[in-house]
Symmetry: C2
Subunit: 416 residues, 2 copies
C-alpha cells in the first residue's frame, strides 16, 4: 500500500479555526476546562463534524467522543488516533485540539481514498486530559487504570467533578464501562505540540517521543492562626502565608540545585480567610513535580515534602499533605517510534527522538498497545497560555506524519 | 446629675446572644461581611430592637442604622454612641457587635430612668467598618471624607460594592447625603474589644484609647509568563508566584528589622491562571501596613513598595501597584479620654491609656467632635477569627463605662 498519501490541508485548517472560536478568550486562547459548557460545546461541534463526514460517532461511558472508520474485517483490532478537546483554564488553541482535528482528517482522507485497512480506525477525543477535574478520566477509564478512589479527592475538588459529570450527562459508575479489552487495540498514535522550546530552538521538524515524564501532584495546607492584622505584634503571629511563601522559594531552589532536568510547580495558592486585615490562618497550595526516571521522581517528591514540613515548623505552622495521584513515567513503543520516524523521513522532514516533559493520554495507552507520539515545534516553547502557537506549516507536517505513521502501524497490525 | 446609674445586664446579654446567631458559623464565629445578606439580617434585627424599645429609628443614605433618644431641647447637639454590625469574613462575635448592643442599652437605660439630657443621644451602627467593600463607608460618609473616587477601585472590587449597595437598597449618590454638620455633633464614644493581647496579659480592666493607628492598603500584582509546568525548564521560567512569595517573606523581615511597633500583612493572594500544571503568569496580593506615627507610616509604605519592586526585578517580573486608600493616624480627644477614665474609676475599674492598633469608625469622627474609645480585654488577644472572645464580666464593665462616659460627656456638651 502507498503511504505517501496526503490529505485536505484546507479542511484541516478550517476545522482548526472553527474549534478555536469555541471558548475563545480576549487574549487569543481558549478556556475549555473539562466538562465546562465551552468544552461540551467543542464536543458537540466534533460530533457534528463526524456525522457530516459520514463516519460513525461513538460516545462511551467516560464521555470520550470517537469517529469510527471500520475495516471490512469485523473482528479487526482498532488503531486509535487522538488527543483531547479540553484545555487548561485560559489555555491555548493548539494543545489537544490539533491532535483531534488531525486524527479526524486522517480518517476522512482514508475514507475518501477508498482505502481498506486491516484495522478499524478510531479518531478519539479523550475526557479531562488536562486534569482540571481528575486527570485522564477518559484514557484512564479506557485503559482500566481509573479507580473509584480517584474520584473521591480529585485535583479539582469533588463538587466540580460531580457538577461536570452532571452537565455532560455522565455518571461515576458509567465511567468504568469505557474500559476496553487490550486485545481489541492495534495501537495508539497522538499528534501534539511539544509545549517546550526544544524543537523550535533547534530547528527540527518532528519530535519522535521516546517516553513520557512521570508526574506526582499534591495539595499542601499550612495552618497557623487567623488573627487581627493590626493588633497582633509581628513576632507573635502564626501566619500560614509565610510557610507557603518559604516553600515556594525553597522548592524552586531544591530542584535547581539537586534535580537537574526535573521540574516542580506551585500553580495555585489560596490564603484563608483572605482579607486585607486578617493574618492568614490557612494557606493551601497546589504542587506538581515531574521526572523522567521513576526513582528520581520518588526522590524528588520525598525531598519536596520534607522541605514543606521543615518550612512549616520554622514558622510554627501545621502541615497537611494530600497526595492527589501519580502517573508513572511511560516509555513509547519501538514499533510506533519507528513508524513515526519513517513517515517523517518519507516526507523529507527532519526528526529527533526526545522525551515528553508533559503528561499525555498516550501514557495510559502505552502499557496496552503499541503507542507513539508525534511532536511539532511550539513557537518560543510557550504553552498552557493564550500565547501558545505553532506555525501552520508545522501543523500540516505533523498531521501528514500522523497519517503516514497510522498507515504504517495499520499495515503491521498483527503486532497488536 | 448622678453618673453611677447602671443598666440591665440580662437584656444586654440576651441582645448579644441573639445577634451572634445571625450569620453564625460552625466554628463559633459570625460571617457578616458588609451588606451581605447576613449583615442586612443583623441590621433588620437591630431596627426591630430599636422600635420595640420605643426609640426612633433613623436610616441614612449610607445605610447607617440609628436609634434616637431625643433631648427636650430640639436644637441640642447629638452625642453619638456606636460601632458596627458587619464582620470580617469568618470573623468573631464581639468585634463591633458588642459596641452596638451596648450603645442601644445605654439609650434604653437612660430612657427608662426618665433622664432628660442636654443632648440628643444616638446609638449608631456604621456601614462597612471592616472594609470588605470600601472601608468606613458609613462613618466616612457621615464625616464627609468619603469621596466618589473611593468607590471606583475599592478594596473588595467594584462589582461587590455595587451588588452590596443594590442588596441594601442604597445608591452611590445617596451615600453622600449621610454627611452631618459637625456643629450638630456633641461627640462620639465607642466601646470595642481591644483585639490585641495587651489588656488581657496585663490584667487591666479598661483601655482608654489615646489614638488610632494609621493604615495604608495596596493591591500588588506581579506579572510573569504563564507557561506549561512540565515542559518549561526551571531556569527559563518567569513565575509570578516567586515574586509574591519573596515579597511576603521580605515584608515581614523588613518590619521586624526596621519598624518596631508597626505591622504589615499580606492577607490574600491569588495565582493566575491557577492550575496545577501552569506556571503562574500573575500573582495578585492584598497588602496592608499600619503605624501610629504619620511620618513612620509614610516611611513604612515606601520601604515596602521599594522592596516589592526589587523582588519583582530579581525574578524578571513586572509589578503593578494600586494604592487603595490611606487612613491617617487619629488622636482621641482629651475630654473624651478623661470622661472614660473617670467613669472607669467611679466603677472601681483599673484603666490604662493605650493606642489602638486597629482602625475604627472613631478615626473619622475624631476631627469633627470630641471622640473617645473604650477598650476591654480580648482573651489571648485573638480577633478577626471565630475564636475571638471576651469574658462577659469585661463586656459588662465596658458597657457600664460607656454609660458613665456618655453621661459625663453629655453634661459637658457645650464643648461641641
Amino acid at each position: 500500500m502507498s503511504v505517501s498519501m496526503q490529505f485536505n490541508h484546507k479542511r484541516l485548517q478550517s476545522d482548526f479555526n472553527a474549534l478555536a472560536t469555541i471558548g475563545a478568550t480576549a487574549e487569543g486562547g481558549v478556556n475549555r476546562p473539562a466538562l465546562s459548557p465551552a468544552h461540551l460545546e467543542a464536543r458537540a461541534w466534533y460530533a457534528a463534524q463526524v456525522k457530516q463526514a459520514g463516519l460513525a460517532l461513538q460516545i462511551d461511558g467516560a464521555g470520550n467522543h470517537s469517529a469510527l472508520l471500520r475495516s471490512p474485517n469485523p473482528s479487526a483490532p482498532t488503531l486509535l488516533l487522538g488527543s483531547h478537546l479540553d484545555s487548561v483554564p485560559e489555555g491555548g488553541r493548539y494543545d489537544g485540539a490539533l491532535g483531534v482535528v488531525a486524527a479526524l482528517e486522517v480518517l476522512r482522507s482514508i475514507q475518501e481514498a477508498g482505502l481498506n485497512l486491516p484495522v478499524h480506525l478510531e479518531a478519539i477525543d479523550f475526557t479531562d486530559e488536562e486534569g482540571t477535574l481528575v486527570g485522564f478520566i477518559g484514557s484512564g477509564a479506557l485503559a482500566g487504570t481509573l479507580t473509584p478512589g480517584d474520584l473521591q479527592n480529585p485535583r479539582g475538588g469533588r463538587e466540580a467533578l460531580l457538577a461536570g459529570l452532571t452537565r455532560a450527562g455522565l455518571t461515576e459508575d458509567g465511567l468504568f464501562t469505557a474500559r476496553r479489552d487490550p486485545a481489541t487495540l492495534a495501537g495508539y498514535l497522538e499528534l501534539h505540540i511539544e509545549q517546550g522550546p526544544w524543537l523550535y530552538d533547534s530547528g527540527v521538524d518532528i519530535g519522535v517521543v521516546s517516553g513520557i515524564v512521570g508526574i506526582a501532584s499534591f495539595r499542601l495546607a499550612f495552618s497557623g492562626r487567623a488573627n487581627h492584622a493590626g493588633t497582633t505584634p509581628m513576632a507573635a503571629r502564626r501566619d500560614a502565608g509565610l510557610g507557603a511563601a518559604a516553600f515556594i522559594l525553597a522548592a524552586r531552589q531544591l530542584v535547581l540545585d539537586n534535580f537537574p532536568g526535573c521540574v516542580a510547580n506551585v500553580g495555585a495558592l489560596r490564603l484563608e480567610p483572605g482579607a486585607f486585615n486578617i493574618i492568614p490562618g490557612r494557606a493551601e497550595l497546589a504542587l506538581e513535580c515531574r521526572a523522567v526516571d521513576p526513582a528520581e521522581l520518588d526522590r524528588l517528591q520525598t525531598s519536596l515534602l520534607e522541605r514543606a514540613q521543615r518550612e512549616a515548623e520554622s514558622f510554627g505552622l501545621g502541615l497537611e499533605v494530600s497526595a492527589l495521584g501519580q502517573h508513572a513515567p511511560a516509555p513509547m513503543s519501538q514499533l510506533a517510534q519507528q513508524a513515526i520516524q519513517e513517515a517523517a523521513a518519507e516526507l523529507g522532514l527532519s526528526s529527533q527522538s526526545m522525551p515528553s516533559g508533559a503528561g499525555h493520554d498516550a501514557q495510559n495507552l502505552a502499557p496496552l498497545c503499541p503507542t507513539g507520539m508525534v511532536f511539532i515545534p511550539s513557537v518560543d516553547g510557550i504553552s498552557h497560555s493564550p500565547h501558545e502557537t505553532s506555525r501552520w506549516d508545522d501543523c500540516i507536517n505533523g498531521a501528514n506524519v500522523l497519517l503516514g505513521a497510522a498507515l504504517r502501524l495499520a499495515g503491521s497490525s498483527d503486532c497488536a
